[in-house]
Symmetry: C2
Subunit: 458 residues, 2 copies
């Protein structure tokens, strides 16, 4: 970012539209140097965004004249589907060249989703040290702490002094990771026993023992732990970096907060998208991919919608007797669906942040039912009046009012119980709750409204 232009607004960090035009011009002119010049001031993450936002054919044309500009940092910033496409344009040599300067965790990020041949080709071209590091990480399960960590650690025997540590660091400047925030103290069996912050290290006298200035809080992360749990720990305990240990408690790597932040953002995005029935869909996916990803949820929705229709069909005679019922019945179902979605979203969110547990679940259910009851009563009055005024039939107003109360109470109940039960069963509540809850509110909504109408009006 140019330092003389300070942007405050909402779009301070958005890519400028002029940039797209200029790059398009340069591609047309086949001018690689112009592209170099345009990309030079950008951060790798912004170049990655740029590559994601242009059309696939523009990407191909751009890379043809600007392949050399692609470094490992840019590649590791690009989202999976676009990266896969770009990797297809590179020879293993070009890929390895790009990958060489990366830390082990970023290399893992890049190669973990390559097919085996490509992966093998890249690994062969890495130095032996790097290769071992990457292979070790790949041995851990996908989306585990072991995949997320970097194996380059800065550690010291627990009996060292500040002076010994600083001398050691000065003697090995080239072996240090780009960014590190703690010296990890280890015992003779390589078990981490504490963290010393660099600030503390630097402000202490040379003869101070590292052990005496270690941080009070200290959390180690098991290498097998799910990355979502890792992100939770970083966010909850405000960790900056944490040592990763194997099943014997020995140091095998370190995870830093910037990696945890990326996982946290990804997990949050996943929850958001899953709640709406879209897997890992982004605006850059191809039509076929997107269609396929959205299809299952729509199929599930079709089944639940048909279920609701079956309920309606039970009352065909009733509707034939009073068509106003057909006009009003979607209102009850729709209000229930919305109230249910409200409850389930709050519940799914609270489950993810571990704020909804066995200790408060009954209280939360009670509260949601009460909220449903109160809002149900308010909207019952409103809708009852509308029903009477619209169709001039007092009993119709009473029926829709009663159905509204019933459905909003059920919505609060189902919206909380369903995600909690799914979670207990080991099913992702973000993914599956929506379908279940709207099925319940549709079925109950139509059944209550039409059923009451059958009893009261006919």
């Amino acid at each position: 970012m140019a330092e003389d232009v300070i942007e405050i607004g909402e779009d301070a960090y958005a890519l400028k539209s002029e940039l797209f035009q200029k790059v398009r011009d340069a591609i047309e002119a086949g001018n690689g140097e112009d592209i170099d010049m345009l990309m030079e001031p950008l951060h790798a993450a912004d170049i990655a965004d740029f590559l994601e936002q242009i059309e696939p054919h523009e990407r191909r044309d751009l890379l043809e004249i600007w392949k050399g500009g692609l470094d490992g940092e840019i590649l590791s910033e690009i989202e999976d589907n676009v990266r896969e496409e770009i990797l297809g344009y590179l020879t293993p040599q070009e890929l390895t060249e790009a990958v060489r300067e990366l830390e082990s965790d970023d290399v893992v990020d890049l190669v973990e989703y390559l097919d085996e041949d490509q992966q093998e080709a890249v690994l062969e071209l890495l130095g032996p040290m790097d290769r071992v590091a990457v292979e070790k990480a790949l041995a851990y399960p996908e989306e585990s702490a072991g995949r997320l960590m970097q194996v380059e650690t800065v550690r010291a025997p627990q009996h060292w002094t500040v002076g010994e540590m600083i001398d050691f660091l000065r003697a090995h400047p080239d072996e240090l990771p780009d960014q590190f925030y703690h010296v990890i103290l280890v015992d003779p069996r390589m078990k981490p026993v504490g963290n010393v912050t660099l600030g503390r290290l630097m402000s202490s006298r040379r003869d101070v023992k590292l052990f005496d200035i270690k941080e009070e809080m200290f959390t180690t992360i098991p290498a097998e732990q799910d990355e979502g749990e890792v992100a939770y720990a970083f966010n909850q305990y405000h960790l900056i970096s944490a040592p990763v240990v194997d099943e014997d408690g020995r140091l095998v790597g370190v995870i830093t907060i910037d990696d945890a932040m990326i996982v946290l953002a990804e997990e949050n995005a996943e929850d958001l998208l899953r709640l709406a029935g879209v897997g890992e869909n982004t605006v850059n996916d191809r039509v076929v991919t997107t269609t396929r990803q959205r299809f299952p949820w729509l199929a599930v929705n079709l089944v639940t919608a048909i279920l609701a229709s079956l309920v309606i069909s039970l009352f065909e005679d009733v509707i034939a007797g009073l068509v106003a019922l057909a006009v009003l019945m979607p209102i009850v179902a729709s209000m229930g669906g919305n109230a249910g979605t409200q409850s389930l979203t709050v519940a799914v969110r609270a489950i993810a942040t571990k704020d909804l547990t066995g200790s408060n679940v009954l209280r939360v259910i009670r509260r949601e039912v009460l909220v449903g009851l109160i809002n149900g009563l308010i909207f019952a009055v409103v809708m009852g009046i509308i029903g009477i005024l619209w169709f001039g039939e007092p009993l119709l107003g009473v029926v829709i009012a009663a159905a509204m109360v019933i459905n909003l109470v059920i919505a609060g109940l189902a919206g909380t119980v369903i995600p909690v039960v799914l979670e207990k069963l080991g099913i992702d509540p973000a993914l599956a709750s929506g379908a279940f809850v709207t099925t319940v509110t549709d079925v109950v909504g139509f059944f209550a409204f039409l059923g009451l109408a059958a009893v009261v009006l006919l």
Copy 2:
């Protein structure tokens, strides 16, 4: 966390249910020491979660015997509504005692939502330095970088050497912030010119100039910038800490990644909740608060549902002629609503991450419409067949199939165009898109299905 118990599973960091029982027992026995013992091993963030999860009356009883245990760190971790309740139990003296050890940004967090009297009382009891720092931060707009930053910075004139810097740090260990990751280099007018990482500082020889080892990437944050943009910058550029500058570009504070991570998590949660029509609702809110927060969205939904009903009422005669239409019509609307929600969620997410911009909006719209068309065609065939088999009326199958295609195409279009337009108008697309999109899909769904039925079947 006990170091000898390594937990890997999903619930590695969840509070144990035994803890709740033990604390309840201690509260009943009025035993403050037992509570001390139970809380002692917990991180402040976990104690905060604990306090949030118990019932309000338990909270009151607990604090009566355990007021002294509440320190500023715990208070700053508790969510707003519960914190407000707890602050009501504390005298300004007790509050100030708790606040005294916090960094300026955490104090700001605590006092910014107090009423003026309480705020004044706390500020008066702070030391003069702290007071000025907090007042300065409070002068910046809510949710701005100025509120988020801490004023304690570690800075150095750009001409200093590594040796000078280390000597300075050793001479002033008590004035250093708890955690810091960079030395900020400033010019004589206090404008930041670069960051030196502590790792680099420590591994360089004493005679090296700080200016020569500063980081390549350097981003300053304007104090007025919205905290959401700040979080975006940290996540996008993998910043660890960034200097905050006033309108003249002079250093006024520093923001660290842990604070940015909290904002990022909050912003994501907000988007998730807004999409479902729940403001800043958590499972710990009171019934009244929750009811009030959810009411407006339900009211908006009622209006859109009535709109849809008005469309249906245009076709009362058609329905009276063929009640099967009433049975099938919710299916078309429901499928459209779901497809629209899928599109809009992806769009809202992409807008938030600046991945949907003027440069690719047309491509994204085209893609969503195509996805809608393909899925629409598939479900049209499925639903057409079901319609025919169910009601033995081929034309009914054709009508529902055609309506399905129309509504899913419109869903893709509306699901993308509506959030983009709302964003351009300065309206939060996460908050408002849902209502507009489902109105469109309901109205189009009912109108297409019943309208076609009127033309084809009667």
